[in-house]
Amino acid sequence: MSTTTTRDLARPAPAKASSAKPRRGLRGSPTFNFWLFTGPFLIGLAIFVYAPILWSLWLSFFEARFTVTPDKFVGFENYKYMLTNEDFVGSLVTFTVFAAFIVPTTWALSLGLALLVNRLRFMRAFFRSVFFLPTAVSYVAAALIWKMSIFSGVRFGLMNTVLGWFGIDNIAWLIDPNPPWYWLVIVTARLWLQSGFYMILFIAALQNIPDELYEAAAIDGAKPGWQTFRHITLPQLRATSTAVILLLLVAAYQAFDEFFNLLSKTTWGRPPLVELYYKALGESQDYGAGSAGALILTVLICAVTLLQGKIMGFGRGDESK
């Protein structure tokens, strides 16, 4: 209803302006304005996104080692190589494990933080900032802090010092993969970096829940605490939760920085992007196989996104109500 009125109000305005001007010229043309405003972004998109995608499509059919302008056509050889390459297939599994773990954990932790902060009577702004601040830290910097000072394998690393008080021997957190302590390092780093941001989203959503609902629930006999949370708060947060989970999945897909910095020179704990980096851009410089891998990954991501859209109905519109 309200949108129609604004539109009605807005429509006559440009008409009046144009009738006042004798010559319309290029500037008045909506087509020109459309291209003027979208042009720069489209050019950027074409140059930095579509051209590289097409280029790697082309590269993936060639033997491109130590060159990006190859001349030896090899057909589907690169695809065959990548799909039978244990490391690449293994990295897809790594990613799945990582996503299955990090998404619910971050979701729960940021919701928990939001609930706590939202209940505070004093110093709420302080705690909100404190929890949000890590979002501003770069993944690389955080990875270095985690690696060098907190989870350093030597006796003066923070964690090993703490363990030392209880007489527990030093643990080489990132070096020795049995038991896989490196996951603890990666997950804690990512939780620290991410939770604050999603906490803010949840706080905003929490503040949007009308008090009347809680009053009504209380009158109907809902006990404060778990019962109210389960039947009022959680359903009211459904739209935000869906968005948060989607964003978290995207972030997990993009995992690179902390894996690359924390687990250099390993064969384990490599998400697909790190694997492809080593294949194409790193020491192997095999752009053909790397591009084939990138395209396989792209197809997979598209498939998963479409499937997710189907299941969660995200973007259909009725979700936000």
């Binding site: 080489a172 070096i175 020795d176 790193g282």
Partner: protein, 420 residues
């Protein structure tokens, strides 16, 4: 009036903005050369170096460059942990360095990335260590000028070994035993780097095997190497290795700070160790992996290469010739004034007094007696394949046979592409 004004204003703002952008671009160019814009005529050259750990190395390289009159030479000092990746990807772009340091690897020659330097080396060929010429030669052409040879071996604290009544180990089993005896509450017995990659080749050589044989076929897949991997796995899980140290094994800090009693490192670290530990240290080669093997030392090092696809190939060659062939004074300065390196020029190696006494002399002895040089056919992809073997079968508990089979597949794929 006001309309006119605003029009004029808008234009002048655009003009000013364009002017600013141009000025910005210009000044960016200016600062990029790293020299005053008026200084020196002639060509612009860029050289790429990995960051050496020793004090004064960057200044030295820049000082040599400044002394060169025929071109402006800019230095890129790459502090990144993976110099290889930086270099390899830079070489594909327009901003590629004209000359760079690296190790001899045949794929760069096959893909036409490095220029033939035979004509500048040939006149002084006899003055170079023959092994250094051989490792840079493909089909009779020499592709790089060796700057320094860097033998790598173990460094140990004499006092700690004496206290624990441990002899200098000559077999891998003795090394494991020594590591056990030397490990106390605060000190770990042995440090070979967090990823153990520096000892891969020595372990193979000490098992009587090699990376590739003369015919460029796999030579590392032997029962001796498998036994070696099993011993390394045992050592890795023994709790006697220093793991997760803040510095990698090329940096002697772990030994200097008393985190370990024995550390694998290189000749370059000698001055730093001498400063920190006085005379309380010695060196020994990588021990025999199996009883029938022989102790070994990896003679690494760095060489200058000219980017064959660069814009100034001739000028770059001239510079390499000037600095790394003609300027012996700088070559000696580079080899002995910061870290210790063995000059590949026989005449310089003989006159380098700093390498004539004490542990440095011992290092030179190990270099000659047990040294293995780079094999130009052993490329980065193959190096990575064996690093994966160590990751899988030493740090993880994969069956060595299976890990080596996996490496064989990767190495054979590479060999087929290089040699057909």
């Amino acid at each position: 009036m006001s309309a006119m004004n605003s029009n004029w204003d808008r234009r002048s703002i655009f003009r000013a903005a364009a002017g600013l952008a141009a000025a910005g671009a210009l000044s960016a160019c200016g600062s990029n050369t790293g020299r005053p814009s008026g200084g020196g005529s002639g060509k612009q050259l860029t050289q790429m170096f990995h960051a050496y750990g020793e004090q004064g190395t960057e200044q030295a390289i820049k000082r040599y460059a400044k002394a060169y009159k025929d071109a402006n030479v800019t230095t890129q000092w790459i502090t990144s942990a993976d110099f290889e990746s930086k270099l390899f990807s830079a070489l594909l772009t327009d901003n590629a360095p004209d000359l760079f340091e690296f190790h001899p690897q045949i794929q760069m020659i096959k893909s036409g990335q490095v220029a033939d330097l035979t004509d500048i080396i040939d006149p002084v060929k006899d003055d170079f260590n023959p092994a250094d010429i051989k490792s840079h030669t493909v089909d009779g052409k020499i592709y790089g000028v060796r700057m320094i040879d860097d033998p790598q071996f173990f460094f140990y604290r004499k006092s700690m070994l004496e206290k624990a009544k441990v002899d200098v180990p000559t077999t891998l089993d003795e090394l494991a035993e020594a590591a056990e005896k030397l490990t106390t509450g605060k000190v770990k017995g042995l440090y070979m780097g967090n990823d153990l990659h520096s000892v891969i080749n020595p372990m193979i050589w000490s098992a009587g095997a090699d990376t590739l044989n003369e015919k460029n076929e796999i030579a590392y897949h032997t029962p001796g190497v498998i036994e070696g991997i099993k011993k390394m796995r045992k050592l890795f899980t023994s709790g006697n290795l220093l793991l997760g140290a803040p510095t990698e094994s090329w940096d002697p800090s772990s030994l200097n700070q008393g985190l370990c009693a024995i550390q694998f490192c290189g000749m370059w670290a000698m001055p730093q160790i001498q400063d920190a530990l006085g005379d309380d240290w010695g060196v020994f080669p990588f021990p025999k992996t199996i009883d029938s093997g022989k102790q070994s030392v990896y003679n690494g090092g760095w060489s200058m290469f000219v980017n064959a696809k660069g814009k100034n190939v001739e000028a770059a060659k001239e510079y390499v010739k000037w600095l790394w062939i003609d300027q012996k004074e700088y070559q000696e300065d580079w080899a002995t004034s910061y870290g210790f390196h063995i000059p590949p020029r026989t005449s310089l190696a003989q006159s380098a007094t700093k390498l004539k006494s004490g542990n440095a002399a011992e290092g030179v002895k190990l270099f000659t007696e047990f040294g293995h040089f780079d094999n130009i056919g052993w490329t980065q992809a193959m190096i990575t394949a064996l690093e994966d073997v160590f990751a899988n079968a030493v740090r993880k508990d994969m069956d060595p046979e299976k890990a080596l089979d996996k490496a064989d597949a990767a190495v054979n794929r590479e060999l087929k592409k290089l040699f057909g």
